[in-house]
Symmetry: C2
Subunit: 491 residues, 2 copies
C-alpha cells in the first residue's frame, strides 16, 4: 500500500514527484503537459485563494472574468508581447464545425483582451483608477513540464489596473509586490526576496517587472510572483485613453500582477521532508486529526469513541481556539478497516499539522498523545490543556516553518565578488549569490552560459548584507553603473 | 449619463439586455459569443459560488481541477456524447508553434477526461463512492448567444461521482437535484419545478437527466440546473472498474451535475423591474447603501458625515444583525461630485436591497429615510430602530421576492387537456402548461413544431395540481403510458 518516498539527499527531483503523487496533490493527465489537481492539492489552492483574494480586495480591486480566447490580431498588437508569447500559444483554428476566419489564442495572459475592454469602459479621469482582478486558467505550451512548477495549463490570478500617471502605476505595482510578500511570508511561511527583473528577464510588454524569489531545499530559486509596471505600452497598442482634468486625452498607465498554482510546488519544496508533505497550518485542511486507537479490550471502544467526539467539541468551542486567525478544522478518523500504523503514515504523508491519538492508556491518564508533524515527537497532553496546546502549537508551527526556511536561505546565501569563486561554489553548493552587476546584458549572459545561474533580480532591499559602496561587476569588474543583484540556479 | 431602460412591456429582450449592460453586470467582448463578466456581475457569481460550494461539500464531495483540453479521441469514445457535443466543439489544432498530432477539444463538459482519471484512481470498492466537483470554464460554440443565458464560454461547477450500484448513483443524482432546488429557492429566491427530461432532451450520454425549471417574467421557462444519472455509459467507454467485495471486477455507476453563470441571467429575468436590477439580499453586495445628503447649510455637513459612519458601526455591531444568515455589508457613498438624484438612480439600477438617506431634516428628527429596492416606498426610521429594521426587511425582502415569483408562476401555470386550447393559449399568453404525455417522441416533436414549446420535464412532484388518474396524452389522446409533464416556451 505505502510506496516509498525517495529521500531528498538521493534525488531531490524524484523526492518532489514522489511527495506530490503519493500525497495525492496532483497527477499526470492524458493531455501532454497538463496536470490534474487532486482534492488534497486543490484544497491548498482554495486556502490560497480565499486569503489572497481578501488582500487583493483590500486595495479596492474587484474581481471580473474575461474571455478564454484572444483574437490572434490582439496578441500581435504589442510588439514585445507577441515576441514573448507567440511560441507558447495554443491556437483554436476550428470551432462549431467550421474553420474560423480569425484564429483564437487560448489566453497565455490577458493584457490584450482586457485592454480592449478598458478602452471601452474608460472615458475620463473619473473612471480611474480602474482596478480589476481575475482568477482563471491560462495556457502556455511548454516542452519540459513539472507538476505545479511548469505545466501547459495552470491556474492563477491576474490583476490589471489603469492609472492617471506613471507614478501611480509604479506605486500600485510595488503595493502588490508588498501584498504578495506578506501573503507568502504570513500564510505560506515562505520567506521571499523582493527584486526587480533585468531587462532580459522582464515580462514581455512591461516597462519594469518586480518579483519575489523563494529559496528551495535543493538550494535553487523559485520565482513565486511578479508585478509589472506596464507604463503605457498596452494602452498605446489598444488606444486606452482618458479625458484628463485639463481637457486633453491621455494614455492610461497600467500594471499587471499574478501568482499561480506554482506556489503549491514552492510550498512542497520549501517545507516538506522525507516522510511526505509538511503544510503550514494556515493552508492545511484539516489542521488536526484525531485517531481513536482501539486496544484489545472491546469494553473501552465506546468510551474512546465518545471521548474523541467530546474532545473535538470541547476544542472547537474553547476560548483559546477562537484566537486563531482561521477557523479550526478537526477530522476524526474512525475508519476501523485501517490499522493505526497505516493512519500514522497517511497523515504524515499528507501533512496534517497535528495528530492526536487516544488509546486505552491515554484514556486512563485523561490525556491524548500529541504529535506535531514537523517535529514528530510524541507527548502526552492532559484533556484540560488540549485547547491551549493546539492553539499554541499551530501558531508556533507556522512561525517555526518560516524561521527554519529563512535560516536555511541565510545559511546558503553568499556575498561574493570573485567570479572564479562564484563559478566554483555554485557548481558544488548551489545557493543564493549576492553580488554586483554592471547592468550589461553580456555579463548577464556570460554567467548564464558558464554557470547555468540566472540573474534572479536586482535587489530591492538589502536582505542579506548591507553594502555601502559601489562594487565592481562580478563578471567584468567595471565599477560604473553597478547594482546589487541576486544570482541563482532556478526552476 | 443615465440611459433609459426599455420597459419590459415594450420589449422584454431589450429590457433584459439594457439591465445587464446598464447595471454593468456583463458586456459584449470582441470574441464572438464570449461575454465579459464585470465586477457587479462577478460579485453575484462569488456569492453563488461560496454558498453552493458549502452545500456541495456537505455531501462529502471535494473540489479538484482537470485539464481544459480533451484529446479528440476521448470525446469520441461514448457514442451519444460525441453526437451531442461534436458540432459545438472548439478545437486546438496548433500549439507551441507546431501542428498537433492529436487535436485537442476545449472542454464542453468533462465526463471523458475525468473518467480517464477515475479509471486510474479507482481500484476497489474501498475507493467508492468517489465524489468530485470542479469550478471551471467550458466552451460550447453557439450560433445565437445572449448575455449569461447562452454564451460560447461560460463558468460553471460540474460534479462527477462514482458509485458501486445504479441505486446509489440514482440517489446521488436526486440528492444534488434537492440541493440545487434548495439553493435556488433559499439563496436566489427562485422557485423551481423539479423534473425528469424526456429521452429527447436528456444529456448526451446520460441514462436519465433531472432538471430544475424556473419561470421568467416573460412567461418562458429557464432550465436552471441539471443532474444526470450516467449509469455505466462512460465507465464502459473508459473501462472505469472496481474490484467488488465478491472478488469480481465491475463497472462503476456515475452521476454528473452542474449549474452555471446562466443562473445570473435567471435572477435578472425573475426579479428585476423597469428601473433596473433587483437582487435577493443573499446575493447582493453590499446589502445596504448609506447616502449622506448635504443640504444648503454647510454647518451640518460634518455632523451628517459623522452620523453615517456612527450608524454603520452601530448597525454592524448590533445583536440583531448577527442573526442574519450572512455577514452584512454596508457601503457609505460620500462622493461629493455626484448629485443625490444620480445616486438614487444608480443604486436602484444596480439593485442594492436597502438605501438609507441621511439629510439635515433626518438628522433633526434622529432618523434615516429608509427605502427597500423592491417596494420603493420612503419611510423614516428612528436611529434606535435601524438595526432591527434592516434585519427584518432583508429577511422579508428575500422571502417576498420568492413568494412573488412563486405566485406569478402559479398564476401562469395552466392545467390543460385540450390540444387546441393549449395551442391557442400558449401562442397568446405564454406560461407553464401541465398536461399528460404518452412518452412517444412523435407527440413531443409535434408540440415543438406547432407551438415552439418544448417538453420541459416529466414532473417529479405535483407542484400545481394533484392529478389522481391516468389522463390521455394531450396530443394523441392515448391513455397508455402517460405521465404528467410540463410544456413551455423556453430559453
Amino acid at each position: 500500500m505505502a510506496e516509498k518516498i525517495t529521500p531528498r539527499s538521493q534525488d531531490f527531483s524524484k523526492w518532489y514527484q514522489d511527495v506530490i503523487l503519493q500525497a495525492r496533490l496532483a497527477d499526470y493527465s492524458p493531455v501532454k503537459g497538463c496536470m490534474v489537481i487532486r482534492p488534497n492539492g486543490y484544497s491548498i489552492w482554495e486556502k490560497i485563494q480565499s486569503n489572497l483574494d481578501q488582500r487583493i480586495k483590500s486595495t479596492g480591486t474587484r474581481n471580473a472574468y474575461f474571455p478564454l480566447f484572444i483574437p490572434e490580431s490582439f496578441i500581435q498588437k504589442e510588439a514585445e508581447h507577441v515576441k514573448g508569447f507567440a511560441p507558447q500559444c495554443a491556437v483554436v483554428t476550428y470551432a462549431g464545425a467550421k474553420d474560423l476566419e480569425e484564429k483564437l489564442i487560448v489566453r497565455p495572459t490577458s493584457e490584450t483582451i482586457i485592454n480592449s475592454m478598458f478602452s471601452k469602459w474608460i472615458q475620463s479621469y473619473r473612471d480611474l483608477p480602474m482596478l480589476i482582478n481575475q482568477w482563471a486558467n491560462v495556457v502556455r505550451w511548454e516542452m519540459r513540464t513539472r507538476l505545479f512548477l511548469r505545466t501547459t495549463e495552470f491556474l492563477w490570478q491576474e490583476g490589471h489596473t489603469c492609472h492617471e500617471t506613471l507614478e501611480e502605476a509604479e506605486k500600485m505595482a510595488l503595493k502588490m509586490l508588498t501584498i504578495y510578500t506578506q501573503f507568502c511570508e504570513d500564510v505560506l511561511a515562505m520567506p521571499v526576496v523582493q527584486g526587480l527583473k533585468s531587462e532580459n528577464e522582464k515580462f514581455a510588454g512591461a516597462l519594469r517587472t518586480y518579483c519575489i524569489e523563494a529559496f528551495m531545499q535543493d538550494k535553487k530559486a523559485l520565482q513565486a510572483g511578479t508585478s509589472h509596471n506596464l507604463s503605457s505600452h498596452f494602452a498605446k497598442a489598444f488606444h486606452t485613453v482618458f479625458l484628463d482634468k485639463d481637457g486633453t486625452q491621455k494614455l492610461v498607465f497600467q500594471t499587471s500582477w499574478g501568482v499561480s498554482t506554482r506556489l503549491i510546488g514552492g510550498l512542497v519544496m520549501m517545507h516538506s521532508d522525507d516522510r511526505g508533505l509538511i503544510l503550514p497550518p494556515r493552508v492545511s485542511s484539516p489542521h488536526v486529526v484525531i485517531l481513536p486507537i482501539f486496544g484489545k479490550d472491546p469494553s473501552t471502544f465506546t468510551k474512546i469513541k465518545q471521548k474523541v467526539h467530546e474532545l473535538k467539541k470541547m476544542v472547537l468551542n474553547s476560548v483559546e481556539i477562537k484566537t486563531l486567525p482561521y477557523p479550526l478544522e478537526i477530522h476524526i478518523d474512525e475508519d476501523e478497516t485501517k490499522q493505526a500504523g497505516w493512519k500514522f503514515h497517511e497523515y504524515e504523508l499528507i501533512g496534517i499539522p497535528i495528530r492526536l491519538e487516544l488509546g486505552p492508556k491515554d484514556l486512563d491518564l485523561n490525556q491524548v498523545t500529541f504529535v506535531r508533524r514537523d517535529l514528530g515527537k510524541k507527548e502526552g497532553v492532559p484533556f484540560t490543556e488540549l485547547s491551549q496546546k493546539i492553539t499554541e502549537e499551530l501558531l508556533a508551527m507556522q512561525k517555526d516553518l518560516f524561521e527554519k526556511a529563512k535560516k536555511f536561505r541565510m545559511d546558503h546565501t553568499h556575498l561574493i565578488s570573485s567570479y572564479d569563486e562564484f563559478k566554483k561554489k555554485i557548481a558544488t553548493e548551489g545557493g543564493f549569490y549576492e553580488t554586483s552587476w554592471c547592468q550589461n546584458v553580456a555579463c548577464e549572459t556570460k554567467v548564464k552560459e558558464e554557470t547555468k545561474a540566472t540573474l534572479r533580480c536586482i535587489l530591492l532591499d538589502q536582505a542579506f548584507q548591507v553594502r555601502t559602496s559601489q562594487n565592481p561587476c562580478v563578471v567584468c569588474s567595471s565599477k560604473s553603473n553597478t547594482v546589487n543583484v541576486l544570482f541563482a540556479i532556478s526552476y
